[in-house]
């Protein structure tokens, strides 16, 4: 039956030993190149360039075909060919198992915060999700992936209203950095200084921004606590340079809303604002806080609260003026720019209320205390920008709060602080600065693989600020548009875009898979090597919650001890522990239908090699190869 096939020239070509040598060598060459790509661009880069491509699958297919044809071409098999046949059969089974894994397997990550439950597995494919403000009509588009930065019209998504989203820049590996720079728009920004602190032993530097209207921004820098604020009057300047022990106003438990009405600052305690309409100072504007969300996240395109941990505090509030014009605003403590860049929800045709808003979140546990409250151990170095913005003042205090030095700090001048031989130098001073979060492209990787991907999304014919944010004139808005030709979206980030009267949320990230059950993380623990902070072991106590089957099972997942449930396997992959936040445990989730096949193939192959090399001469006589007989040793 096989006879005609064996004589087919194409079959003979695929069965040939020479093709085998060539395909083995070309596979080796391709793999070598792939590992070099991996060392430059990371595992994902190697996947995009080699392992995930159709042609790589082709190379493997040709190899498999070669192995199959080679085995068939010797049919009917002699007893002496047992080892040969078994080995090559093993390779075929192994390749088939790999195909099953590739085709039907699931490989992803499941991060779960301690005390919470989750069942959404993050896969490796990138996608953009576009939805309107009500979360309706959400559409998911796969994003093409590249190993290196790619610019140009990479993707286009048309939306109603004659507009179109364009992805015009792709960063496969980036870190988001906050950069402080001179504000390009007059009247926008906060004072900022770049301070260098040094003595003969060390040298440290940091940017300080006077973010809060009347409270110093603090920062721990080596042995000192640094502070910076903006002063508003001559009296404040005197108080700053010659401090008396005056009690400081404290933010409420939930934080403050700072409102700038007609150029004047007012503060509303959030707890108070939640009680109902409150007049802002003596202005005609009233404010009511509708909702406070300690941990705001966008879920199904709606702002919801994830937990009571103040991780991402936000408020939703209403403003109204005497004539009953009403506006709705959403403020995030961590993203002060949000309020100014995005339109408020107001009635069509209504003139915007000229109110600039900012939220100051509550103090997080573990965050540094106010300098005035600091215990011993650290000195203080406080800076202030004078009321007329013309002078920069400084005040150095020793460990117990005693004043060591004070005066005017000129940029570029080294000034002794009067303790620990420390000197400081203000390297740069910007009266009004903005902090921009911009991606920095990592061309070549070093070690780890935890880089984020970013895309720049542009709305063609877009007007960035459509209904004009409070505090910004239309001219300013136009400037902003020129400055922001597109918006960077990093993995996991969702941003709103205004299209006419409608607002679209565009989310970029990895595609997800919902498991039919959920995993709740009860407790994550990390053991260390004695006397060090080096991790020695990780483990997560979890509960599987399978409501469909009425199962609730406790389990312990640790390094090398995975959990098997519902066909899926959960491995302890990594973790994140940050001060003031509950730990996050990351599980690697795996479903592999090819596993058994691959194991079987491996076993068969190794047995085959052993038979071929050693057992042959004893049990099956000599192999007769294709070469001359005397060449064949075994």
């Amino acid at each position: 039956m096989l006879k005609p096939l064996l004589k087919n020239p194409l079959f003979k070509f695929f069965a040939s030993l020479k093709l085998a040598v060539l395909s083995i060598l070309s596979l080796a060459g391709v793999l070598a190149a792939a590992t070099i790509y991996e060392s430059l661009y990371g595992a994902r880069g190697a996947h995009v360039l080699v392992y995930g491509t159709w042609w790589f699958a082709g190379v493997l297919f040709v190899l498999g075909l070669n192995v199959l044809c080679a085995a068939l071409s010797r049919f009917p098999w002699k007893r002496s060919q047992t080892g040969f046949v078994v080995t090559h059969l093993g390779i075929l089974i192994l390749l088939f198992g790999s195909y099953l894994t590739q085709r039907y397997g699931v490989d992803g990550n499941l991060p779960v915060v301690e005390g919470q439950q989750d069942g959404e597995v993050i896969l490796n494919e990138l996608m953009l999700k576009v939805a309107d403000e009500n979360g309706k009509g959400a559409q998911v588009f796969p994003v093409p992936e590249y190993a290196t930065r790619r610019q140009g019209r990479l993707m286009e998504i048309d939306v109603p209203g004659g507009k179109r989203f364009v992805v015009d820049d792709f960063l496969p590996r980036a870190v988001f950095e906050r950069r402080v720079q001179k504000s390009p728009v007059p009247g926008v920004g906060v004072p900022a200084i770049h301070v260098e602190l040094f003595n003969s032993r060390f040298r440290l530097e940091e940017w300080l921004q006077a973010k809060h209207p009347d409270q110093a921004t603090e920062l721990n820098l080596g042995p000192a606590v640094l502070g910076f604020k903006k002063l508003w009057s001559k009296a404040q300047e005197d108080e700053f340079l010659h401090p008396t022990a005056a009690p400081k106003a404290k933010a409420g438990k939930l934080g403050l809303v700072v409102a700038m009405v007609h150029g004047k600052e007012f503060r509303v305690d959030i707890e108070d604002g939640l009680k109902g309409w409150r007049r802002i100072g003596a202005t005609p504007i009233e404010l009511k806080i509708e909702r406070y969300l300690p941990y705001a996240i966008v879920e199904k395109n709606e702002l919801v609260n994830k937990s009571n941990d103040p991780v991402n505090p936000a408020v939703q509030l209403f403003l109204r003026d005497a004539s009953g014009n009403e506006e709705k605003h959403t403020l995030f403590a961590n993203f002060p720019e949000f309020a100014t860049l995005h339109k408020s929800h107001s009635r069509a045709g209504q003139k915007p209320l000229d109110v600039k808003l900012q939220m100051m979140g509550p103090k997080r546990a573990g965050a540094p205390e106010m300098p005035g409250m600091m215990g011993g151990g650290r000195g203080q170095l406080l800076f202030a920008q004078s009321a007329d913005d013309k002078r920069l003042l400084y005040l150095a205090k020793g460990k117990s709060g005693e004043v060591k030095a004070s005066g005017e700090a000129k940029p570029g001048e080294a000034i002794p602080t009067g303790w620990m031989d420390l000197q400081f130098k203000v390297q740069e001073w910007l009266e009004a600065a903005v902090e921009e979060e911009a991606p920095r492209y990592i061309e070549y990787i070093q070690g780890g693989d935890n880089y984020l991907t970013g895309v720049r999304v542009r709305l063609e014919d877009q007007r960035v600020v459509d209904a004009s944010s409070p505090g910004l004139s239309r001219a300013v808005a136009a400037d902003q548009e020129a400055l922001l030709p597109g918006t960077w979206l990093m993995e996991g980030v969702s941003k709103p875009f205004a299209v006419g009267e409608k607002e679209y949320f565009v989310q970029f990230g990895k595609s997800k898979l919902s498991l039919p059950f959920q995993l709740r993380l009860e407790k994550f623990t990390m053991g260390t090597d004695p006397g060090t902070t080096k991790a020695a072991s990780y483990e997560s106590r979890v509960v599987v919650k399978d409501e469909a089957n009425g199962v609730e099972r406790k389990a312990l997942i640790s390094m090398n001890e995975p959990l098997h449930y519902g066909g899926y396997t959960f491995y302890q992959a990594s973790y994140q522990m940050e001060e003031g936040r509950p730990p996050l445990s990351v599980f690697s989730v795996n479903y592999d239908p090819g596993r058994v096949v691959k194991y079987a193939g491996s076993l068969v192959m190794v047995l085959g090699i052993i038979v071929m090399f050693w057992l042959n001469p004893h049990y099956f006589g000599k192999i007769v190869g294709r070469g001359r007989k005397e060449e064949v040793a075994v």
């Binding site: 030993l17 020479k18 040598v21 083995i24 060598l25 596979l27 080796a28 793999l31 070598a32 590992t35 070099i36 991996e38 060392s39 990371g42 595992a43 996947h47 790999s98 894994t101 490989d107 870190v175 990592i442 070549y444 990787i445 070093q446 070690g447 780890g448 693989d449 935890n450 880089y451 260390t528 090597d529 004695p530 006397g531 060090t532 080096k534 991790a535 020695a536 072991s537 990780y538 390094m559 090398n560 995975p562 396997t569 690697s588 795996n590 592999d592 090819g594 596993r595 691959k598 194991y599 491996s602 192959m605 190794v606 090399f613 050693w614 294709r626 070469g627 005397e630 060449e631 040793a633």
Partner: protein, 585 residues
């Protein structure tokens, strides 16, 4: 001045009672030192007894070890030397702690090898060693280090120069920790041996959970030792040590101090230097066997066999000792794998020697083992001989042990086939017409390669089993596993090439030798050149020059043999081409 004076003054403050008793030696010392600061002496060996200190325990980098190990590792890391200026490591390290400002600050002892870095720092490129004071004053170093640290934070690739600068910074950091006393975590924690121990600096803090009288006694004892060291008074030193060391060992943390036997065993391992003596014995064996092969002298053969066997025995003894000390199979970093692979190479050579009775087999293997062990013995900054705790993913895992031992044993078999392949090539070079001899050696080479192919195939698959068990996927295209596969593919190409008739006698040997480059890449290259992937626990840097030199020499040797073989083949009218292996093999 500041560091020591500061340290002594604080010690003095914590125990005002005894400071008064003894007339305030510390204050005196500080004053004397201040007066002497103008005239710094170069360090000179002290005639002290270091014995009791050597076996004191220190908790360092996640492990309790003898102080002697800590001192050798620190000296090696900072100076690249085992002994400094005839001083034992422990003496040097104590000198840094106690007499840094007086004797060491201006002494050039921090080793910097990287030429471009020295030029970037404006240092004399012809010098190997630089003084801490000189590096402290250097303004370029902090800039490079700061940039490199920022890059590291972003996980961006560092240049070679930046890596070396970071290493210099780490050398300085370790020195700083020693000088300030931070690194001397020799005070046991009464709460348990696994709890964090306390450094000498902690004596000045109220956080040490010792009873007041214990604290006083330790502080006084340490201070007496320091004073005796400064005064170079061997008598006072001995007295202070004899009181203080047993007190720390026996009284401070009863029941929570490591077992003396364990510390002694490690000390024995340190002082025996089994791998050092193993390569010396292998060298003797090589000379003896070579002499036998050339002259046929049976005594030479006997000497060769005995030294080979004793080298092999010492090799495995050191390996077992290391296993016991670290409590795991030691194949988790480059140094340990070199030790294991060189041992495996000798093992397989002995097996094949027993089967074929040809003394050239162990002689060839000994060359590889000597080279490997000499490198391991002399390149501590590239191949770190320290015993360190394992990465979490490597702990308590049966499959890991099996997988790594199998894979590395396959490297050993391939190394043997490399050595024997070079013997074949050497024969082509020197006596290309001796077909029978060449066929014999080709057969031995093939046997070694067969062992390697089975072990590598099995080991790679066992790696898949482990990866499946630990990480949840059988095969993840990780560079280490991919290179193991490439090495396997190269040998498979050689095996199949033989059947196509493309590879005859010379080609078969030459390609076998070339295929070892795949092993070299999987073994060394992935960790030291590519530096990516999940097998990151074995990563390191350095040694590129040696590897490149070997590859160049190997290629040159193959070409030379080819030229000679080609000439001989042209004049032999096909007589050379009688098959790869001897008839009937």
């Amino acid at each position: 001045m500041k560091r020591l004076a500061h340290f002594l003054a604080i010690l003095c403050l914590t125990a005002p009672a005894f400071a008064a008793d003894t007339g305030g030696i510390s204050g005196d010392t500080a004053a004397r030192l201040a007066a002497e600061s103008g005239a710094k002496e170069p360090p000179a060996p002290r005639d002290f007894d270091w014995e009791p200190l050597r076996l004191m325990a220190i908790q360092d980098r996640g492990r309790v070890k003898p102080l002697e190990t800590f001192a050798s590792e620190s000296l090696l890391y900072i100076t690249g030397a085992r002994v400094w200026n005839k001083m034992q490591p422990i003496e040097v390290v104590l000198g840094w702690l106690i007499a840094f400002d007086r004797e060491w600050e201006d002494e050039a002892f921090i080793r910097i090898d990287h030429g471009p870095l020295k030029r970037a720092l404006g240092l004399d490129p012809d010098k190997k060693y630089f003084s801490p004071a000189l590096l402290q004053k250097n303004e370029a170093l902090p800039k490079i280090v700061r940039e490199a640290a920022q890059k590291e934070q972003r996980k961006e690739r560092l240049s070679d120069l930046e890596k070396k600068a970071m290493q210099v910074q780490n050398q300085r950091g370790l020195l700083e920790a020693i000088v300030t006393g931070q690194a001397f975590t020799i005070l046991p924690n009464p709460r348990g041996i696994q709890e964090p121990w306390f450094s000498l600096v902690a004596l000045t803090e109220a956080s040490v959970p010792y009873p007041q009288e214990h604290l006083k006694k330790v502080s006084a004892g340490v201070r007496d030792m320091l004073d005796a060291f400064i005064a170079k008074n061997a008598m006072a030193w001995r007295q202070a040590v004899e009181v203080t060391v047993p007190f720390i060992e026996n009284e401070l943390a009863k029941g929570a101090y490591p077992d003396m036997g364990q510390l002694k065993r490690e000390s024995q391992y340190n002082n025996l230097r089994p791998f050092h003596w193993a390569w010396i014995l292998y060298t003797c064996a090589f000379v003896g066997l070579l002499f036998f092969l050339v002259t046929g002298n049976p005594i030479a053969r006997w000497i060769g066999a005995v030294t080979m066997a004793s080298g092999f025995g010492l090799h495995i003894y050191g390996f077992i000792l290391r296993c016991i000390i670290s409590g795991r199979p030691p194949v988790t970093n480059m140094y340990e794998s070199v030790i294991w692979v060189t041992w495996g190479c000798v093992l397989f050579s002995l097996v094949i020697w027993a089967a074929y009775k040809n003394a050239a087999i162990p002689a060839a293997a000994s060359v590889f083992s000597i080279v490997g062990l000499v490198l391991a013995d002399n390149l501590p900054l590239v191949l770190d001989p320290g015993i360190h705790p394992l990465e979490p993913v490597l702990r308590s895992n049966f499959w890991l042990t099996i997988h790594v031992l199998t894979i590395t044993l396959s490297y050993a078999a391939f190394a043997l086939s490399l050595c024997l392949g070079n013997v074949v090539l050497g024969n082509y070079l020197w006596r290309p017409t001796k077909t029978a001899v060449i066929q014999q050696y080709s057969l031995y080479m093939y046997r070694a390669m067969q062992i390697g192919v089975v072990l590598l195939a099995a080991g790679t698959i066992l790696g898949g089993v482990w990866a499946d068990y630990s990480w949840g996927r059988f095969w993840g295209w990780d560079p280490k596993e991919v290179w193991a596969l490439i090495a396997l593919l190269l040998y498979l190409a050689v095996l199949h090439g033989r059947f196509t008739g493309w590879l005859r006698g010379f080609g078969f040997a030459a390609t076998t030798v070339v295929a070892f480059l795949g092993v070299l890449m999987a073994w060394y290259g992935v960790n030291f050149v590519l530096g990516v992937g999940l097998h990151s626990y074995g990563f390191g840097s350095g040694g590129m020059g040696y590897v490149a030199a070997y590859v160049a020499a190997q290629v040159g040797f193959i070409l030379a043999a080819y030229v000679r073989y080609n000439k001989a083949a042209a004049t032999s009218h096909g007589r050379l081409d009688t098959g790869i292996f001897p008839k009937g093999a």
